[in-house]
């Protein structure tokens, strides 16, 4: 397929361990994301999902293989990338407003315009009235939403999301998922969405990629042919949803078991 938004070709990533050894986090991983596609990635913990996102974002460099964004090899951080990090990455010394306005300001937008945009986004993630708070005065879920607004305000062409909703309660989470879908539908961005939650993956994505236990590689990909627009709260009850869920889970389960056995074994040694 010509013109994929994101392409990973036989990518391997090794890390140096503190003891001087080498740890292979992902091995020979090949995947593609089409322009405007919503791609979810699931896999057992530690299989290299976050590492894959770091490679696409240019924050880490592949040890072998090629990473391409918009057809160009990734060197440095590609234009138009948004990244919602797994761990807290909001700036503790900036207020909510300062945090959300940072992106536009870094792109040369005047302070006044940046604040105006930021206020809209703060309202959109349900934090209106909290503009002057510092992150330590927010709850974990609120901080997550600040991080979300901070990334989305830049209007990214490629959006990398690493378990963005895992700290939220179920209701807020459903609201945010629906909101994400409508934003995405309006934006034509390509999304790579990492999650532990298979239901969430199916409800949101066009395609679900299942990764093997570490060192991670692609075990299988599944097209999700559920109609859009979707309502995340209701889609789970459709028979087709259940079918897809079972198909993916039968593969994912094996990997989760492998990963679990390994950890138990490592703990016992």
């Amino acid at each position: 397929m010509a013109g994929a938004a994101i392409e990973l070709r036989s990518v391997t990533k090794r890390f140096a361990t503190p003891k001087g050894g080498v740890y292979t986090a992902i091995r020979d991983l090949t995947m593609e994301v089409a322009p405007g596609e919503f791609c979810a990635v699931v896999g057992p913990t530690g299989c290299g999902k976050s590492t894959t996102l770091a490679l696409i974002s240019g924050l880490e460099r592949a040890s072998a293989g090629e990473v391409l964004v918009a057809g160009e090899a990734v060197r440095g951080i590609p234009q138009g990338i948004g990244y919602v990090f797994q761990s807290d990455a909001v700036f503790p010394w900036k207020t909510v407003l300062g945090n959300v306005a940072a992106g536009p300001r870094y792109h040369g937008v005047s302070n006044w315009d940046a604040s105006k945009q930021a206020k809209e986004w703060i309202a959109r993630v349900g934090l209106a009235g909290f503009e002057d708070r510092y992150p330590h005065q927010l709850s974990g879920g609120m901080r997550k939403r600040v991080g979300l607004a901070q990334s989305l305000i830049n209007n990214p062409r490629i959006l990398l999301m690493d378990e963005p909703f895992s700290a939220l309660d179920v209701q807020t989470r459903t609201l945010m998922e629906n909101e994400l879908l409508s934003l995405w539908a309006a934006s034509s961005a390509s999304v790579v969405f990492v999650t532990h939650d298979l239901e969430e993956a199916i409800a949101l994505a066009d395609r679900v990629v299942v990764m093997t236990a570490g060192p991670g590689t692609v075990k299988g990909t599944f097209a999700v042919d559920l109609p859009r627009p979707r309502n995340v709260a209701e889609i789970r009850f459709q028979p087709r949803f259940v079918q897809i869920y079972e198909a993916i889970w039968s593969q994912l389960r094996d990997e989760v078991l492998v990963s679990y056995e390994r950890q138990k074994h490592a703990a016992a040694v």
Binding site: S57, I81, A89, G103, Y106, V125, G126, L175
Partner: protein, 320 residues
Amino acid sequence: MSVRSTLPRSDVSAQGGAPPFGSVGMQDGATQGLASRTAEIAALDADLSARRAQVAQRRRLIIYALRLAFTVLWLGSWELSTRLNWVDPFFVGQPSGVVQRLWTWITEGTALGPLWLQAVVTMQEAVVGFLIGAALGVVFGILLGRIEVMAEVLSPFIKGANAIPRVVLGSLFAVMFGLSLWGKAATAVVLVFFVVFFNAFQGVREVDRNLIANARILGADNRRLTTEIIIPSAMTWILASLHISFGLAIVGAVVGELFGATAGLGQLIYNAGHTFDVNGVFAGMFVLAVLALIAEGLISALENRLVKWRPSRVSGEIPI
């Protein structure tokens, strides 16, 4: 240290305030109930902050009372043991004597001139040395923290320089700068520089890599990364070092005066020492301590302004 009202005002009330994404179908009755609940909670909040202020006030009073008790105990036992001749006031001084000496200094002036002038001279030396040393420390700390090669090349030199007892440089500076302010300020500079430098350097090294990654993704260039991420993050470390280093600046100034001076509190203290005037030594030290405390207060105020984003320790400790 004042107790600010940054705290809980509203984690509760806020939740009632704005549902995420506004337009979630909410029934009328629910909305009404919500409004009255919000008002109720606001009233409760006001009540709580009043109580909180009361608790803080009482706590402050207790602390002051305990401080006073400590002072009375300390000075009282000292005075008493000299009065009863358990120890010889000629060697250890006497609080009443110290007060007397201070009084003469204030009313009649010291051997070197008016007391305030001595204080001004020493403070000038300390402040000039402190500012130069701290500025150099911050600049070099950030530079070396950011530029790895530079840090690797220079680290043995810096560690070596840090290992030598730098107060002896005072004699060198006395030769270089004569009796002027600069000899003392330079001694203060070499004492302050290293403390601030190491802290700034460490602060830069400790910046959360996640935050750097986030800023870079959001589009920050190197300059922005330094000014908006690295420096604010390192600021906690730098400010912590300023507390210690102002004391060191005073040490530098006083030691500098040892190697030759015509005025200053250090000079005053040496003179007193040479004439076996122990009370004079203590009186000079007392003036130095008061000045150091004032400076400490100013630095704390600066710190509170610069890092107001940090969870406030004081208000965190007060239960509501």
